[in-house]
């Protein structure tokens, strides 16, 4: 088979994507952990991991090796088979749902007619891994963690799902590529058409991935480590991988639905075409910083490693600048730049996750449920009705887009404000009642 036949083979891109999801994703998850530790350290005015590799760059690999060779402990009264299989369910579900995510217009495995539903539905299957793992451990901490996790996931999935329906109304399709395409033709990212939907999805997605401030299932002070308490070594690493993959999945959904997928900011405005140089410039900046830091590393090996990282970033810069500067290479621009913008937006979303984690204290479980059912769900419903009304006003009655969407957004905010007001009133009376009954007793 000659090269041309291979390059035009229809299964080539899906195969590359599938292989990279399975092979590269564990590495990416490891590095997200490193970034999280670094961001946390930065916010707490520390340095974070600095020992393994320059600036701790090899820490994830050391951690993975450590976890691989650790002893795999199975509790004596555990349900052996389920204990073995449960982490696999979580990982499989998380990775499978990534198969419908388009990383830019070219790099995708399958453009399904039901793409969005596929991602949501399959990633929701991961809960079986959590619940079964918690049950099979035969430990009270694990079981309680698993039950909390299931309750939390089910509660927040409703709000997230309704927030997603709002953007599906705007796009008129469930196919992930078509949703991004619609944002390109409309010339506006859906975060501006449905800001409240984005807010609801942001909160619900944090809760769904069990991250702080909603990390009740693994609240250390109450439940040791939640459903993972009895897990160790590689199986524990699989749960971790699933958790971080789920983070990537929800970030991808948010990017596709609200942040314009692989679109460049202002992709319709030709006056801002110089933004096409931004990817290359950013990579060059990172490379320059690496070269600047390389001589300052303490050990010779670390100096060399830092220089290699710099060279890699420089090469990426060349690759990203090539299709913009050289017209002959323009054919590969959509794939490369789409992928770059998509990954940049996903990273930004994950950064917001970390930022929130290190900023807010943990919720109590009843507060979590109240927030989910008594605030987020009604607001999500109001938001959905608002978007439908705005679309009807705009398309049916020919109102101005900004006017109709602004009006319904304001109304939704009013509903949210009303809910907060009512909720505060109820809380006060409840506490009073409790005191009263205590006094009577």
């Amino acid at each position: 088979m000659d090269l041309n036949a291979i390059l035009t083979w229809p299964y080539l891109v899906p195969l590359i994507c599938a292989a990279s999801i399975v092979l590269v994703l564990p590495l990416v998850a490891g590095y997200i952990v490193l970034v999280e530790r670094k961001v946390m350290a930065d916010m707490q005015v520390r340095l974070g991991p600095m020992r393994v590799g320059p600036h701790g760059l090899l820490q994830p690999i050391a951690d993975a090796l450590k976890l691989l060779i650790k002893e795999d402990i199975i509790p004596e009264n555990a349900d052996r088979w389920i204990f073995w299989g449960a982490p696999l369910i979580s990982v499989t579900a998380a990775m499978l749902s990534l198969s419908a995510v388009p990383i830019g217009p070219v790099f995708l495995i399958a453009d399904l007619n039901i793409g969005l539903l596929f991602i949501l539905g399959v990633s929701a299957l991961g809960i079986f891994g959590i619940v079964l793992g918690g049950w099979a451990s035969n430990s009270h901490y694990s079981l309680l963690g698993a039950l909390r996790s299931a309750a939390q996931l089910v509660s927040y999935e409703t709000s997230a799902g309704i927030a997603v329906v709002g953007t599906v109304l705007l796009a008129g399709t469930l196919s992930t590529t078509a949703i991004v395409q619609k944002q390109a033709t409309d010339g506006v990212w859906f975060i501006f058409a449905a800001p409240i939907g984005f807010f609801i999805y942001l909160v619900a997605s944090i809760a769904e991935t069990n991250r702080a401030p909603f990390d009740m299932p693994e609240a250390e002070s109450e439940l040791v480590a939640g459903y993972m308490t009895e897990y160790s070594g590689f199986r524990w690493a699989l749960y971790f991988l699933a958790e971080y993959t789920n983070m990537i999945v929800v970030s991808s959904i948010a990017t596709i639905l609200f942040l314009g997928g692989g679109l460049r900011p202002f992709s319709g405005t030709s006056a801002l075409d110089f933004l096409d140089y931004f990817p290359a410039a950013m990579m060059l900046g990172i490379a320059g910083y690496c070269f600047y830091r390389a001589p300052k590393q303490p050990v010779a090996v670390q100096k060399g490693f830092m220089a290699v990282v710099g060279l890699l970033c420089g090469g990426l810069a060349l690759l990203l600048a090539g299709p913009v500067a050289v017209p002959a290479l323009a054919a590969i621009k959509p794939g490369l730049h789409g992928g770059f913008w998509f990954l940049l937006k996903v990273s930004a979303y994950i950064y917001v996750f970390m930022w929130l984690r290190f900023t807010f204290p943990r919720y109590r479980f009843d507060q979590l449920m109240q927030l989910g059912w008594k605030f987020l769900l009604p607001v999500a419903l109001a938001n959905l009705v608002g978007i439908a009304v705005a679309l009807a006003l705009h398309r049916g009655l020919g109102w101005n887009v900004v006017l109709s969407f602004g009006l319904t957004t304001l109304l939704t905010v009013a509903v949210a404000g009303f809910l907060v007001w009512v909720g505060e009133g109820r809380e006060v009376t409840k506490i009073g009642e409790e005191e009263e009954t205590a006094a009577n007793a």
Binding site: D79, I82, L143, A146, L147
Partner: protein, 168 residues
């Protein structure tokens, strides 16, 4: 040919898992096999190009209802169930009835084989776009039955809340 292989694979998986659901002693194991059976059914839907049914089967049954089942099962004391006798002593009556029913089904298929195969095959793109066709059927062609079913479900839901809650 490949279609047939896929169909029989999922069909065998579904039937086998369904048998395991009934015969397992441990309820959690039954739940896992039930999930397998439901997913295998979803696989059959997908092989028939009914993508929307496929994903709705996964979201509703596996992701929704079964999660609730598992949730409840875990709160129940399983040790008690493990020591109970699983099968009634007159299980062979049920077996006999099942065999009769199965024979009936096979006979029906064998008799109607001609007429079934006489149906013209659907055109290749008959089910595309899947989601839109389902929506058209539910919200346009059969909108009244659909709304009646919705109201019924709503009534059941409110009834459930009222029965479960002591003080509203």
């Amino acid at each position: 040919m490949l279609d047939l292989v896929i169909f029989y694979f999922f069909a065998a998986l579904a039937v086998g898992a369904a048998v395991m659901v009934v015969t397992r002693q441990n309820v959690v194991h039954s739940a896992i096999f039930l999930a397998t059976a439901l997913l295998a059914t979803a696989g059959i839907f997908l092989s028939l190009h009914a993508e929307f049914l496929f994903i709705v089967q996964i979201i509703l049954y596996t992701g929704g209802i079964l999660v609730l089942y598992v949730f409840v099962i875990m709160l129940v004391n399983l040790d008690l169930a493990l020591h109970q006798v699983q099968f009634n002593r007159r299980w062979y009556v049920a077996l006999l009835l099942t065999v009769v029913l199965g024979a009936e089904a096979f006979a029906a298929i064998a008799v109607s084989r001609q007429s079934l195969y006489a149906l013209p095959p659907a055109p290749a793109q008959a089910l595309d776009p899947n989601t839109e066709q389902v929506a058209w059927g539910l919200f346009h062609t059969y909108v009244l039955p659909f709304e009646i079913a919705s109201v019924l479900l709503l009534v059941a839901m409110i009834g459930g809340v009222i029965m479960a809650k002591k003080r509203i």
